[in-house]
Symmetry: C2
Subunit: 521 residues, 2 copies
Amino acid sequence: MSINYSNLDNSKSFKGLVDAPVPSIKKELNPERIGKYSTPAGAGLTYNFAGKKVNSEILGLLQNLADEQQLTEKYTSLLNGDIVNTGEKRMVLHHHCRGMKINDLVVDGQDMTEFYNTEKKKIYDFASKVHGKEIVGSTGKPFNTVVQVGIGGSDLGPRAIYLALKNAVTPKMTAKFISNVDPDDANNTLADLDFETTLFVLVSKSGTTQETLTNQKFVLEKMAQSSIKGLNPLKHFVCVTSAQSPLAADTNYLASFFIDNNIGGRFSSTSAVGGCVLTLALGSDAFDRFLEGAKEADKQALNPNIYENAALLDALIGVYENNILGMKNTAVIPYSESMSRFPAHLQQLDMESNGKSVNRDGKAISYATGPSIFGEPGTNSQHSFFQFIHQATSIIPLQFIGFRKPQIDADIEFQGSTSGKKLNANLVAQMTAMGLGKDDDNKNKYFAGERPTSLLHADKLTPEIMGAILAHFENKVMFQGFTWNINSFDQEGVQLGKLLADKVLNNQMDDILKAYAGIMI
Amino acid sequence: MSINYSNLDNSKSFKGLVDAPVPSIKKELNPERIGKYSTPAGAGLTYNFAGKKVNSEILGLLQNLADEQQLTEKYTSLLNGDIVNTGEKRMVLHHHCRGMKINDLVVDGQDMTEFYNTEKKKIYDFASKVHGKEIVGSTGKPFNTVVQVGIGGSDLGPRAIYLALKNAVTPKMTAKFISNVDPDDANNTLADLDFETTLFVLVSKSGTTQETLTNQKFVLEKMAQSSIKGLNPLKHFVCVTSAQSPLAADTNYLASFFIDNNIGGRFSSTSAVGGCVLTLALGSDAFDRFLEGAKEADKQALNPNIYENAALLDALIGVYENNILGMKNTAVIPYSESMSRFPAHLQQLDMESNGKSVNRDGKAISYATGPSIFGEPGTNSQHSFFQFIHQATSIIPLQFIGFRKPQIDADIEFQGSTSGKKLNANLVAQMTAMGLGKDDDNKNKYFAGERPTSLLHADKLTPEIMGAILAHFENKVMFQGFTWNINSFDQEGVQLGKLLADKVLNNQMDDILKAYAGIMI
């Protein structure tokens, strides 16, 4: 089938959506719908959309939109190695890191699944030697701590996943992260470390990331200043980079693991970028299970039927909320403290991918693209910004994530219920309250309702489920980009700041940079 | 002078703002303006607004709006104990916690400054005995760790401030926090603790907060299960609550410290709610300095001239962006890793205060109120969602916070500059890039600019400066509420969820709650 790329506002079903009456959650929500409006997301993860402002008419139009914009066909094309990153003229291969493919993909004579598998096996082999104390620190002590030195996609995803899974398995090592070029970040992290037992993972695809190279130097210098006898800083560093980067040629690293330019930073959690630190910290079994869950979600995302493809449906409902209902934000609320940093990862994943104003051919578009994303865990967020969600003048759809069971099996009962039950009673209450609201003659105590909610849910936050959740959002963002006809895989918007920062550092400032620098430097 | 409360859209200057031409940052920005558009925020903190979409005409209208809406007069009225929390019929007295007042305020025969001072002195006395090992744990060991058990305002503010200041002074104790009712939160925090040397601070104004009481029980039960000989859990708990709460009468606590109902949770960081944990962790000197900075900012906020009152000007420019320019979000970006959790505190402070749809008299209003707030530290955010800020279809104003020097004096030089210089070079670059953009024939590399930015800056993040920053935002939010004629001090929007959660836990569910509970419980 031939694939046509076309702007959203050219599509017939989009016009249909503009004209269709907007459903009322209050009128639509009932127990039967809660059972029925439920879609598999892969690996036991389920997407419930009963709380969304949709009905069968809107869903029919969204299915038409998916068909018209050939969303699953474009996903297949991406999997097959077509150049969907049109800006940088690259393939988009993060799915292949977890073994997802339709056909074998050979690039420059290299089977890509084999390439990613080889790097993964190198990591597993290295990690097993570290765990088995075969590879030890320069003073002979076993490593018990791994510190990822990276920023953006080399930090947010791996950090969020580590926090999400460190209670799901028995960790092999403690993981820490240094990302910011602010020296207080590195100094703080280093203050709590025992250099002798710490292994650093330097992660930079390009090998030129200012913050990451600076922080590598920071660590090396602090280790060199240490009075520990026999400490050899270079024997405490491994590297994850691309084969073309200047770092790849550096033989000083204890080991080097490679990714390629077809993996974008924000999509790199299932590549060596996430793989190295997560395998060292959580073990290869956990990382395998994580990849398996992601792959299951990837498979589910192939289904052209929106009722059987949660990522596709979630994407389309998001487009409806954004482009028809004018809701420009989405709040992601995991009812799980372990997922506390996952919204920060999604913030990058979604906003860096779809915060664009030109289509994939570089032409300006005239409709809204990606929403802005934020979130904090429930129930904490209930005591923070939920006042706004319930009663403010603008409406922010909520993407809830919940699990029937806590990760740690050590709950207590108090006033007739466990903490876990209280947590989920709150989630259930919020889903109901947001949609239905509450009448009150006192307008200060009146809740209009009609706040859209959805729920991604599973029995427990396991490595498989974390993988499925991650891939669900990666695929949602991809489908939304296809719907808007934008390139979700480049980030030209970050270049100007880098350029000007270099001008400041190289003393090539114009008058305005100079005036601002006068305040801050 | 008599005070009139009136909706924003009744004001003449608001109509003037609607009609005034919108200035262009590209046209307005020049070195002279960067020097001139700078306003004191108190205690050495400065607000620079050269990057905002304003000019002398707009600023003149904003001054008129401030005068017409009597913003500083309303602040004075609040300080004097008028019932500005109209919904709950309460005074708003958080300024008095730091000694800010115009006249002595006596409530029920009690001088309120004296009340807050007395509680503060009780805390200082207690903390000094803990630090001096006069008060020790039940097994005789000195306390070295303090754990705040609280949620919302009892968690976000104190946590953010502790993280911001633990490198600014020599800490007396390590602070940790348990907030979420998710049992994984408490289990995780407790796993790293030594019960013998840990002091818990239970914080709940009402004494009925579900999460906090549950977590208290959680801790008590885990301590009771411990095999440590002689451990008496009750000898490890102090309490911060209101004198009317059921907890106030409980004599089992090692000590109790009081607040009153005129202090809102999100405004309570300078009361005993923040005072207890921060004094234990950082010492009374640091807390005194923090209060002093807040008081300085409070004083600055009395000035009716917008050019000499940063909180007032920041508030008014925010209203202009929101209600005239249609920008519904604000991103807060501290270029300081120590301030990593401050945006989460502001999210509550701002969104819970001004996420309202009715005016202070409970009548529906027809204009936008509070923006939605999110943020992460720079430079990390540059590698995350800044793509969106530079190039997306919707514009999000940026509130930068920066310091000339890092907190920890242990920087390194690499490639000709320190990490601290690199950090601020990036901040300077972003302020310039956001406003000016960059032309490019390739539309994918084109930056439209015209993204509003402001900068709160100081020499270093000290306790005084942290106090001033906190008070700046508290006062900004207050001034915006006055401008919109809403009550920024209640939160009726959080009640419905509590009610429905109780129904779930007491098995009084209707069919919809039951259907959702079937999925999650």
